[in-house]
Symmetry: C2
C-alpha cells in the first residue's frame, strides 16, 4: 500500500525543523532507515543528472575517529553511530553545489526517521588525501563532506513527527527574519510589488 | 492546531520524487505557498549558522527573460511563474555547498505544494555581473543559482501527495542503482560488513 498523502504543512515542518545534532546515543541505525537515507541520496537531482557521487557508509570506530581528525569541526564524527562520506567525481570538486543538495536530502531523510545528523568539511586541503586513503578511495574522486548520523543523545532536539514546533535553544541556533533575507524584484525591496 | 504527524515513508517519498520541472502553467503561486518556500529556505542550516544568503523573488517577465539569457541552460527561467535568485555573501562564492543545501530546501518546499521547480547556474563568469545589475544587487554578493518555479504544465510530473510513485519517463531521468553508488567501510565493498 502506498504511503498516505502528506500535507504541505507536514512537509514544511520537516524542512524547517532540521537541526545539526552532534551527540548521539549508542542505538544502532536500523537497516531500513539506512536504506531510506541512501534512497533519498540516490534520487537527488544533480547537474544534467550526472549523479557525480559515491556514498561511503562507515561504522568502524577507528575509521570514524580518524575521520574526525581531518578537520577542525569534525568532532561529531567520532561520536557518530554511522558516517556517510560523500565522494564527488573529479578532483578538487568536493564541496560543490550538488554535494550540498545531496547532503540535505541525506540529513532530511535521517530526520524523518528521528535520526540526528551533522555535516562538516574536511579542511585544510592536506587532510583530503588522508581521508581518501583511510577509505581506500582510488584516484579521481574528491572528498570534502562528512555526515555523522545517530539517534540524538539529548532530548533537546526537535522531533519532526510528534515533538513541538522548532524552537531555538541558543541565540545562535536561530535564524534571521525573512524581512532581512528576502527582496522582491530589486535588491532591498522588502515587500512584494503589487 | 499543529500539523499531524508525518511518517518516515511519506517524507522519503517527498524526497525521492522531486524532479526538475521546466515548463509551467500560468496559475499564480499563492502567497501562502511562497511564504512556506521562503521559510524552508530561512531555516536551512549553513556553515556555523552564518546564513550567508539573500533570496530575491522575481515575477517581472522582463527580468525573468533577461535572467534566462545568463547561462546556456536557463531557458526555464523565462517560462517560470516566479524565480528565486540565491545571493551568497562574498564574491566568487555563489555555487557553494550551502547554496546547494538551501536550493534543495526551496525545491522540496515547492514540491510539497505541488509546485514544480528547476535550478540552474549563471555561466560563464561574465554573465554574473549582468544578472547582479538586473537585480540591483550591491557589491559583496555573488549570484550563481537561479531557481524557476511554477505549477507543472504537463501531467507527467510526480505528485508527491496523491500521485503514483516516481517513475522515469526518459532513461536519462533515472538514477544509478545503489549497488553502483554505495560502499561500506572501504571503497568498492558493496555489501555491509557484518
Amino acid at each position: 500500500m502506498p504511503p498516505k498523502a502528506l500535507t504541505p504543512a507536514q512537509a514544511i515542518r520537516l524542512l524547517r525543523s532540521l537541526r545539526a545534532v552532534r551527540r548521539y546515543r549508542d542505538d544502532p541505525i536500523p537497516a531500513g532507515a539506512l536504506q531510506d537515507i541512501l534512497e533519498a541520496a540516490r534520487w537527488c537531482g544533480s547537474a544534467k543528472n550526472t549523479q557525480p557521487w559515491q556514498f561511503m557508509v562507515v561504522r568502524e570506530r577507528s575509521t570514524l575517529e580518524a575521520l574526525s581528525k581531518c578537520g577542525p569541526y569534525l568532532d561529531y564524527m567520532k561520536h557518530a553511530t554511522l558516517g556517510i562520506a560523500i565522494l564527488i567525481e573529479g578532483e578538487g570538486r568536493g564541496n560543490s553545489f550538488d554535494a550540498g543538495r545531496v547532503a540535505q536530502n541525506i540529513m532530511l531523510a535521517a530526520h524523518a526517521h528521528g535520526i540526528g545528523s551533522c555535516n562538516g568539511t574536511i579542511n585544510p586541503d592536506e587532510n583530503e588525501p588522508v581521508a581518501l586513503r583511510l577509505l581506500g578511495v582510488p584516484d579521481g574522486y574528491s572528498l570534502r563532506v562528512l555526515i555523522g548520523l545517530g539517534y540524538p543523545e539529548s532530548g533537546d532536539t526537535v522531533d519532526p513527527v510528534s515533538g513541538p514546533p522548532p524552537r531555538s535553544v541558543l541565540p545562535s541556533m536561530g535564524r534571521k527574519p525573512l524581512a532581512e533575507l528576502v527582496s522582491y524584484e530589486r535588491f532591498g525591496r522588502r515587500e512584494p510589488v503589487e
